[in-house]
């Protein structure tokens, strides 16, 4: 109906996209579902091959009816995509058992196309694929999440050489001893500034601490399950750490490593629990929260969850306890429903002019 044989006078409603360069159209496409991005090839000749140079790929198995459909789809994309176009971002999420060779194929493709940000979310052991990441010098952000029940079995390699990685997020890994007899898997990342350890991570020999040694680390998020049993004992050697987010069970020992301290940390979020009643461990003691706050003495902004307030509320005779920490506090954010005057007084006693934000 639109296509007549007469030459059309340029209407004031011309193709708006004709003024925009390809990279802007690609930017819009990058927000599309991959199937829809491919469908744009139909729009006009300009769009015909645009999807083939899309630098982001998000492949989610749950969007497909069967694994066969999923793997077929991936095959087609990899073969049709412009071979010279780099792939900046690959986000691969697969629920259920898939042929690990498919993952290998996609990983190899991504690495050979200079992938910068890689996210893999699967529920099978990816041990065999990790070596292929060793020689990836383009990777800046790596997010590996493995859901294995009941316990993690994929070992995190101690010798991953990823010189450009600045962000690392891990879920479901077993950390194990290195050559020096310590569990210290992150020390060789020369540019690491952001680290997230969450979900079901464990140390293989759970008598050992997990050392986090990094002079470049600025942001650390720990989000482990709330039970102490089998929980990781962290030891931080992070002289430049600035932001610390910690969800989990109150640590039974000092967080900072030997001859180290947490004085560089400025911004903290604490979401801590403690075993109570039949879930408690002989070591459970609400005073441990105060010891943790003592370690975080220099903090400028502190956010405390209602769970943490519950722990605080278990400390007997709180206001009679000597507390010299939090003297640099500039802002305190707490759950308005659970905070009491006594707790507020306690926390702010060394920084009375700190701003209080209730959420």
């Amino acid at each position: 109906m639109k296509r007549g044989t007469k030459k059309r006078i340029k209407e004031k409603n011309e193709d708006r996209f004709s003024c925009l360069p390809d990279y802007v159209l690609l930017h819009i496409l990058s927000f599309f579902d991959i199937k829809e991005a491919i469908q744009t090839c139909i729009l006009s000749t300009r769009w015909k091959n645009l999807w083939k140079i899309l630098p982001t790929l998000t492949l989610i198995s749950s969007q497909f009816a069967t694994f066969e459909a999923f793997t077929k789809f991936i095959s087609k994309i990899l073969s049709l995509r412009d071979a010279s176009a780099s792939l900046d971002v690959l986000d691969f999420q697969c629920e259920g058992r898939m042929d690990p060779r498919e993952l290998k194929r996609i990983l190899t493709y991504a690495i050979s196309h200079s992938v910068k940000r890689l996210r893999i979310d699967v529920n099978f052991d990816i041990q065999q694929f990790l070596p292929s990441l060793f020689s990836c010098h383009t990777l800046t952000s790596l997010h590996l999440s493995i859901y294995e029940s009941p316990r993690p079995i994929t070992l995190f390699p101690n010798s991953l050489n990823l010189p450009a990685v600045t962000t690392l997020a891990l879920n479901g890994f077993l950390f194990c001893v290195g050559d020096d007899g310590r569990v210290d898997p992150f020390s060789k990342f020369d540019k690491l500034d952001t680290l997230m350890i969450y979900g079901a991570c464990e140390v293989r020999d759970n008598k050992l601490n997990l050392c986090i040694s990094s002079t470049t680390l600025v942001n650390l998020t720990i989000r482990t399950n709330y039970s102490a049993a089998g929980g990781i004992r962290f030891q931080l050697y992070t002289p430049n750490l600035c932001t610390f987010v910690y969800h989990g069970h109150i640590p039974f020992q000092k967080l900072c490593g030997i001859n180290s301290n947490l004085s560089s940390i400025k911004h903290v979020l604490l979401d801590m629990t403690i075993g109570v009643g039949m879930w408690s461990n002989p070591k459970d003691n609400p005073l441990l929260l105060l010891h943790l706050l003592d370690e975080l003495a220099n903090v400028e902004s502190l956010t405390i969850s209602h769970r943490t307030l519950k722990v605080l509320s278990l400390v007997p005779y709180l206001l009679e306890i000597e507390f010299t920490s939090l003297y640099n506090l500039k802002s305190l954010k707490v759950d308005g429903k659970f905070i009491t005057e006594g707790m507020l007084y306690f926390l702010l006693q060394n920084a009375p002019s700190a701003k209080v934000i209730l959420y």
């Binding site: 930017h27 927000f31 006009s44």
Partner: protein, 154 residues
């Protein structure tokens, strides 16, 4: 209280002149968020009025407001107020003025509004002329059949 230096530089005002002649007085640090304007200033330091030939006053006002107010909350609500026409023109403006945050916000918004829509709908909305021959289009639809399953018919 605030550093005197930043006070001094942020109080310097600049005038931006939209394509329809509307004038906007903005602080230097706001104007600098538009990399195109920044480049202009770098080239001629004494400039006081900068012409923005591709952007209507209506849209330049929106862009300036965005720069002043942008944060996570604002960005999430920002795109809801504009119709598709305005979104497209704002994207052209953000691209010309080289404001990456706004461009990202708008690309995301436009993508959201056309997701799950048929190619016919998308063509209509953006006035894209279909210059594929019927044979070519049929060939593409066949070749990419595997990507066309499950599309909204508007």
């Amino acid at each position: 209280m605030a550093e005197e230096k930043s006070q001094a530089s942020s109080s310097k005002m600049l005038t931006l002149k939209a394509s329809d002649g509307v004038l906007f007085e903005v602080e230097l640090n706001i104007a600098k968020e538009m990399k195109t304007v920044q480049a202009y200033i770098d080239d001629c330091e004494d400039i006081e009025t900068i012409p923005i030939p591709n952007v209507l006053g209506k849209h330049l006002a929106i862009v300036i407001e965005y720069i002043k107010k942008t944060n996570e909350e604002y960005d999430a609500e920002f795109e809801k107020q504009w119709n598709m026409d305005d979104l497209q023109l704002l994207l052209l403006a953000a691209n010309y003025l080289n404001i990456s945050g706004l461009q990202e916000c708008l690309c995301k918004a436009i993508a959201k509004r056309i997701e799950n829509k048929s190619p016919e709908y998308v063509r209509k909305v953006f006035n894209i002329e279909n210059d594929h021959s019927p044979e070519e289009e049929a060939k593409l639809r066949k070749e990419y059949k595997w990507a066309f399953e499950g599309v909204d018919k508007d």
